[in-house]
C-alpha cells in the first residue's frame, strides 16, 4: 500500500531533482500493478518496509516487531491518512488562492499565511485615495480594502472607531484594492468613488458593507439603486462613464507594488497588518504610537 504514498512523494520530489524519477517510476509501476490487483514487482514496497522497520528497530526492537507484524494494517492506515491529508491540503490551497485563507471565507488559523509575511510588504508612497481624519497629523494609517470582501467589511467597525476616537491625531487613507475573486469588487470601487465625488462616500461605503452579497450579485443595478436611494445626483453618468476606473486601476497597481496579497491590509507608520485581525492589530499599533494603550 505504501507505494501509493511513495508515488505522491517521489513524484513531487522529482519536480525538483532527477534522482527521484527512477523511484517515482518504480512507485508508479507498483501502483499500476496494485490497481489491477497484481502484486508489486518492483521491490519498492519491500524496500520501504525494510527501511521503516530497520529505522524503528534502532530505537525499539519491540516496536519494530509490533509494526512488522501489522505492517499491512499500518500501511493501509497511512495510505488513507495520506490521501485524506492530500485532499485537505488541496482544498486549503484552493481556498487560499480564492479567499486568501486556507479555511475559506470563514477564516481562522492558516498555515499558508506564513508564506506571505507582512514583514515583506512595502508601505505606499502616495497619499492618493479616500482621505479622512487629520490630514496634517504626523501619523498616517493606510488601508488597502476591497468593498465586497468580508474581511474588509469586518474591519469597518474598528476603522470607524479609530476615526471617531483618534481622527484628530491620525490621517487615514483608504486605497481601493478590489480582489478579482469577489464579484463586482472593481465596480463597487468605481461606484464608491462616484459617491465620493458627490459627497456621499461614507454613506455609500456603509451601504455596501451592510449588504455585500447584494452588490456582489446585483452588479450595476444594485449600485445605481443605492445611489438613487441615497439621492446621489449624477451617479449614473459617473458610473456608466467609468469615470474613476483609471484611478482604481492605479490604486490596484500601487497595491501590487506594495506587495498586497490580501485585504484588508493596514499600514501604521509603515508597519503592515494583513487579514482578518488586521484592523484590531492596526488599532493597537495606533494606540501604542499615540501612547494611549
Amino acid at each position: 500500500m505504501l507505494c501509493f504514498i511513495a508515488l505522491g512523494v517521489f513524484a513531487f520530489l522529482s519536480l525538483f531533482s532527477a534522482k527521484y524519477r527512477p523511484l517515482a517510476a518504480r512507485a508508479f509501476s507498483c501502483v499500476a500493478r496494485k490497481m489491477t490487483l497484481r502484486p508489486c514487482d518492483t521491490g519498492l514496497d519491500e524496500e520501504i518496509k525494510a527501511a521503516s522497520i530497520a529505522g524503528i528497530m534502532k530505537f525499539s526492537p519491540q516496536a519494530a516487531s509490533f509494526v512488522n507484524r501489522r505492517f499491512a494494517a499500518f500501511s493501509f492506515a497511512f495510505t488513507l491518512l495520506f490521501f485524506a491529508s492530500f485532499l485537505l491540503a488541496a482544498q486549503g490551497i484552493a481556498n487560499f488562492a480564492i479567499y486568501g485563507n486556507c479555511n475559506g471565507p470563514e477564516g481562522g488559523f492558516c498555515i499558508y499565511s506564513g508564506i506571505q509575511n507582512p514583514a515583506f510588504l512595502k508601505a505606499p508612497s502616495t497619499l492618493q485615495g479616500i482621505s479622512a481624519g487629520n490630514e496634517s497629523a504626523r501619523l498616517t494609517v493606510f488601508e488597502f480594502g476591497c468593498y465586497t470582501c468580508p474581511y474588509t467589511r469586518d474591519a469597518e467597525d474598528t476603522v470607524k472607531f479609530m476615526l471617531e476616537k483618534y481622527g484628530d491625531k491620525v490621517h487615514f487613507v483608504f486605497k481601493p484594492f478590489p480582489l478579482p475573486t469577489h464579484p463586482n469588487s472593481k465596480w463597487a470601487a468605481v461606484a464608491a468613488a462616484c459617491a465620493w465625488e458627490a459627497g456621499k462616500y461614507w454613506e455609500y461605503r456603509e451601504a455596501i458593507f451592510s449588504n455585500q452579497s447584494y452588490y456582489r450579485e446585483g452588479g450595476d443595478a444594485a449600485f445605481k439603486a443605492t445611489a438613487a436611494r441615497l439621492n446621489i445626483t449624477g451617479f449614473d453618468g459617473c458610473f456608466d462613464a467609468k469615470k474613476f476606473l483609471a484611478q482604481i486601476e492605479t490604486s490596484i497597481s500601487e497595491g501590487k507594488e506594495c506587495g498586497i496579497y490580501g485585504t484588508p491590509t493596514f499600514f501604521v507608520d509603515g508597519k503592515a497588518f494583513v487579514g482578518k485581525d488586521a484592523a484590531a492589530e492596526a488599532k493597537a499599533e495606533v494606540e501604542r504610537l499615540l501612547g494611549v494603550a
Binding site: 521491490g43 519491500e46 518496509k49 534502532k58 526492537p61 512488522n68
Partner: protein, 400 residues
Amino acid sequence: MDADRLREDFPILKAGKAIYFDSACTTLKPRQVLEAERAYYEQASGCAGRSAHALAKKTSEMFESSREKAAAFVNAAPEELVWVKNTTEALNLVIRSFDYSQRKKILTTRLEHHSLLLPIMEQQRRGIVKMELLKTNPDGSFDEQSIAATIDRSTALVAIHHTTNTTGMRAPLEKIIKIAHDNGAAVLIDGAQGVPHSGVDFRRLGADFLAFSGHKMLGPTGIGCLVGKSESLEKLDSFIVGGETVESVHIGKVQFMKAPKRFEGGIQNYAGAIGLAAACDYLSKIGMKNVEEHEKKLAKRMIEAVQSVPGAAIYGSPSSEKRSALVSFNLKGVKHHQVALMCDSLSKIALRSGVFCAQPAMESLGAPEGAVRASLYVYNTEKEISLFKETLEKIAKLGN
C-alpha cells in the same frame, strides 16, 4: 593468511563502507587490480595483434602475458584459454558451437545457474539437442548412484557446475568426468563459483571445457575465460567472428585462425584481461590452498552463526566441509528481501536475496520464493560474521 592485512588492499573496505558478503555475485577489487587496469590505459592503450607501432606491441605483450597468467592460474596452456566477456558467454560459446551431429543429449542438473541452463534450453527449443537432468537430492547433493545410469553413449555433452551459487556445494566432478569420458561425452564445467575459491587444476580435472569470470575472483567485470583442451576447442564451430579471427578472407572463402584467436572477434577487453591477470597474481601470492583454508573456517563459523539464530533454515548440506564460504538461508516469518535490506540498513551488511539466477535450483532446494545468501571471500573475517549474527538475531525476532 591475514585477512585483516589483505583488507588494506581493498579501497571499499578501507573506507569502511560495508561488510561485503556478496562475493558470489561479484567480488571487491584490490588496488593492485585497479592499478593494472590503469596501467594499460596509461602505458599502452593500443590494439593487440594488429598495428605494428610500439604502443600496439606493448599492448600485445601485456595482453598475451595476461593470457599466460590466467591460463597458468588453472594449470592450462595459454593457447587453451579464450578470452570472453564472462562465464555466461563462455558457456553459450560451448553449448551453441558444440557439434551435435552424432549425439544430441546434453546432461545437466537442476542446480545450475540460468547462464548454463538457458543456452541448453534454447538449443533444445530449436530441436538441436535433448536436455536431460542428472538426479540431485533436496539437500543439493548428487544421487551418485544414478550418474552412471544417466550418462550413456548418446550423451554429447555433460554441462555442470564446479560449485553451485545457491549452496556453495561442489559437484562430484571426478566421477562425472570419468563416466562421461568413458562414454565418449565431453564435459563443460561452470567454474564461476569454483575457480575463485579453490585451486582448480584444469589438467588434473580432465574436463574438456572450463568457464570462469574475472569479476568473481577479484578481477574486473567484462572479462572471463573459456579454457578448453586444444582438440576440444578446435571441434567447436565459430561463435563470434570478426576482426582477428581469420587468417584470410576472400568473398566466398574464409580461412579461420586456430583457437583461441578463432573465438576472439573484434578488439578485446585488454584492460580487463590485464586486470584479471593481476587478480590471478594476487590470489597466487596468497596461495589458493590458503584461500580454501580461510574459506573453510569462515564457512564453519557462518553455518554455526546462522544455525544459532532462532527460525533460521540453511539450504544444502550443513557440513562446512562440503561447501565454500557461501550460505543460503531463510528466517521464519521474515521475507528474504526484507532480511537482506534490513541487514544493509542496520549494519551495512551487503547480502544477496532472491533466487540467485537459479530458479530451478531454488525450487529443488525447497525455496521457490528465494532465500538470503551470504557469500564470503578472502577479505572477510570472523569478526564480521559475529556482527552479522547479532544483526540476524535482531531481525529474527520480527518473525518469532
